[in-house]
Each structure stands twice: as structure tokens, then as C-alpha cells.
Amino acid sequence: MCRIMATHKRILRALRRGPARRNLFGPVDREQLHVEYQAALQKDLEEASRRWGFDFISDKPLESDDFKWEGVPGAKVPLLYRSCMHDLGQAGGQRAAEAAVKPKGGRVGSPQSEKENIPCSPERCENDLENLEKTPERRENTGLKRKQTNITDFYQAKRRVVWMPPKSGE
């Protein structure tokens, strides 16, 4: 049994390489990194535009066989789409609301495989990142918690009118 204990001590040693805080592959070219990031986002955005038939940069529908887009006033979209969750300030929230449109008819994406996400446009993300730079601390008591969404944000609450058997004890 001692042999086994020793073995496992050695596995750990084998996996360790001095202090965990270290730079592995030399300096990072920041400018190049940023260029690549912009390019990657741009590419994602173009793919999403093709996929959804919608130009996400100018917030305009594109000619597309798959989707027909229809504008909806900001006040009519569910709460979730109205305010931005990072407390971006009025401008950001407003913008998100104006941008919301809903697909009408058209192809319904196959349920599991093809639901791709729409990346933000680069400008919009820049704003986000300013605010996100501090990730929440573990013990921090954040007052910025997002409001819990209720099912009634999406559906109107109605009193139940069908007859229900009285609960026991009533």
C-alpha cells in the first residue's frame, strides 16, 4: 500500500512545473491580437448575416428566401430584450430595443443542430467590454444583479377561470 501512496505523490510531481504563474510562449503581439479579434468577429458576423438574412451592423433585413423580417416597436418586445443586462446606460438599452425584430414565417431552424448565435457587432462589444473588465469578485456583494425574469414578462398573467377542486383543508 505504501507503494501506491508513493506512486500518487509522484504523479503530482510529474505534472508540476514550478510556479503556476508563468508565461508559456513568450510575449503576445497585442496589436496583431486585436486585429485578429476584429477579423474573427467580423467573420462570425458575416456568417450570422448570411444565416439569418439580416444585416446586424446596419440593423436592416437582407434579401433572403429563408426569413421575412418585420419591425416591432421597442415597447412591444419582452422585457428581456429591452434593457441591456450590464447596465450599459440608456443608449445601449434603447438601441437593443429598436433593433429587435421578429422573424415571420419562413424556415424554422432545425431544433438542435443549427441554432447559431448572433455575435455582437464590434462597436457594440467595445462598450460592453469597458464595463465587463472587472469580473465579479468571489466575495463581493454586487448590487448590480440582473432582475430575475418572470414568466409573466413574456405572457400575460391571467386568473384561472376553469373550475378547480377545492384544496384539502379549504
Binding site: R10, I11, L12, R17, P27, Y37
Partner: protein
């Protein structure tokens, strides 16, 4: 009247749910969907020009150390490696950006699995500030896009309980066996050989290796009926030969890791001299292998 706050700095975990662990449908579903989350290509043969297998090992080892030092949940590291491999299978990446990618993958996996996830700042410090939180967050978005936001990948860790509870193992050894299995799974995640294997096979092979390693299989041969490997193979519908090969591979990786560790240890000893504190540091290891604290 006095008000007491009994909230503590402990991480609250859900108890093991028998509805999930004792229902065969859960294991069957895991086996059905696991292949969806495998990297599509052996990327060193095509997509990647600048990075090589040994660099993946370097970044993986670093990630494992960070996860250990931060006492992350066990599945964070294997999950992060799954993201890393899936990203590398589709995006040609420069070696100088590999550590950034590793940090992003830990960031995502930690957020998915932990109640108190790793922060961007902390991860940047672990890269010795070679990257900034801003960059980490930017690339998080890129990685998410490439993974199509499919983050809830199946990992070998998801299978441990399902396998272990179907084996006739002594109750008092279960905790120890789990630890060993977790260690083997982590070891497999550092080695590219296993990157394309289904998680269920890695889990089954690791359980086999753990039981053999602890010599629980030889203690009482009669209780196993069929051999251990046959039983294991049945649980996860793996072919016996394939499983045997996998288990042997795990044992080989283990041996070579141990050999490497021994060499490094000797090097450090000669570099630092007998009074160096290198060995003490190495001994203060945390998860996943504080097995030596367990009374054998």
C-alpha cells in the same frame, strides 16, 4: 433579539441525486450524445501549422496547475480541454496565442461549472500578465462563437458515478477510487492521444486503471465473476479489446509522466542544492490527488 448570519464561505454542493445516478436512461443518454462534443479533426495533421503536440501538453499542464491551485471543481479542467481541442480543430492558432486560448477555456468552463468562477483578472495574473482581462473577454466571445455556444459538453467525469456504482466495490474504498479515477482523467486530458476518444471510454479505462492500481481486483477474484474489463465494457457498451487498449495506454502515460517527474525532480535538486525548498513546494499539492492523506 440577535440576528445571526450563518452563511459561510463554503461552497454549497447539491447532494448526489439518486434520480439521476440510479436511472439507466441517464447513462444511455450520455452515451448517445457524447460524440457530438468531440473535436472534429486530429488538428495537428491539418489545421495547425504553428503549434505542435508538445505545446498542447505545455498549456494543458499549466491549466491543470491553475485549476488545482484555485481548487476548481474536478470537471473544470477536462471541460476546458474539450473547448480548447474543439477550437483548435477549426481555427489555425499561433503558438503565442495558445496560452490566451487556454485561459479563455478555463474561464468558460469555470463559469459553467462553479458557483464562484475564476475571474478574468486572476487568470491574467496566472499568465504572468502576458494577457489583459480585456483581451480575455474579447477572445471569450470568439471562442464561444466557434463552439457555437455548445458549452455543456459531456466529460469523462460525468460517467464516474454511473460506472462506479455498477461495480461490486467495497464501500470504504469508494472515495479513494474516485480520487484516483479523477487523477487519471486529468492525466488523459493532458495527452493528445486521448483527445478524440469518447469520454465514456476514458472514464471506463480510468476506472479500470484505478482498480488495478489499487489492487482491488486481485484481493477477491471471485466477486468479479467475469473479469473486470468485461464488466466495465458492458457498462459503457465499449468493445473489450478497445477498452483494454485504452487502459494500457492510460497506464503507459502514467508511467512516462512518473519517469519525467523523477528526472525533473533530480534536476531541481541539483539546481537548487540540498537546502532548496523545491520538494516541499511540490509536496504541498492540493486536488485532485491528496490521496496520501487517506489512511490506507
Amino acid at each position: 433579539m440577535e440576528l445571526l448570519c450563518l452563511e459561510m464561505d463554503t461552497i454549497i454542493r447539491a447532494r448526489p441525486d439518486p434520480n439521476l445516478l440510479c436511472d439507466d436512461r441517464v447513462l444511455q443518454s450520455l452515451l448517445t450524445i457524447e460524440e457530438r462534443f468531440l473535436p472534429q479533426y486530429s488538428y495537428f495533421k491539418g489545421v495547425q501549422k504553428d503549434i505542435q503536440p508538445f505545446m498542447r501538453r505545455m498549456v494543458a499542464t499549466w491549466m491543470l496547475e491553475v485549476c488545482e491551485e484555485q481548487k476548481c471543481e474536478e470537471e473544470v479542467f477536462p471541460l476546458a480541454m474539450n473547448y480548447l481541442d474543439r477550437f483548435l480543430a477549426v481555427v489555425p492558432t499561433k503558438k503565442c496565442n495558445l496560452q490566451l486560448l487556454g485561459a479563455v477555456c478555463m474561464f468558460l468552463a469555470s463559469k459553467l461549472k462553479e458557483t464562484r468562477p475564476l475571474t478574468a483578472e486572476k487568470l491574467c495574473i496566472y499568465t504572468d500578465n502576458s494577457i489583459r482581462p480585456q483581451e480575455l473577454l474579447e477572445w471569450e466571445l470568439v471562442v464561444l462563437g466557434k463552439l457555437k455556444w455548445n458549452l455543456a459538453a459531456v466529460t469523462p467525469n460525468d460517467f464516474i458515478e454511473h460506472i462506479v456504482r455498477r461495480l461490486p466495490l467495497p464501500e470504504d474504498k469508494l472515495a479513494l477510487i474516485r480520487k484516483h479515477v479523477q487523477t487519471f482523467i486529468a492525466l488523459c486530458a493532458t495527452d493528445f492521444t486521448f483527445a478524440m476518444y469518447p469520454p465514456s471510454m476514458i472514464a471506463t479505462g480510468s476506472v479500470g486503471a484505478a482498480i488495478c492500481g489499487l489492487q482491488l481486483d486481485s484481493a477477491d477474484q471471485s466477486q468479479w465473476g467475469d473479469s473486470l474489463t468485461d464488466l466495465l465494457a458492458k457498462i459503457t457498451n465499449t468493445e473489450v479489446d478497445v477498452l483494454k487498449e485504452c487502459q494500457e495506454q492510460i497506464e503507459r502515460v502514467l508511467m512516462s509522466s512518473l519517469r519525467e517527474g523523477r528526472q525533473q525532480q533530480q534536476q531541481q535538486q541539483t539546481q537548487r542544492g540540498p537546502s532548496g525548498k523545491g520538494l516541499d513546494e511540490l509536496d504541498q499539492s492540493s486536488t485532485p490527488t491528496d490521496v496520501r492523506d487517506v489512511n490506507l
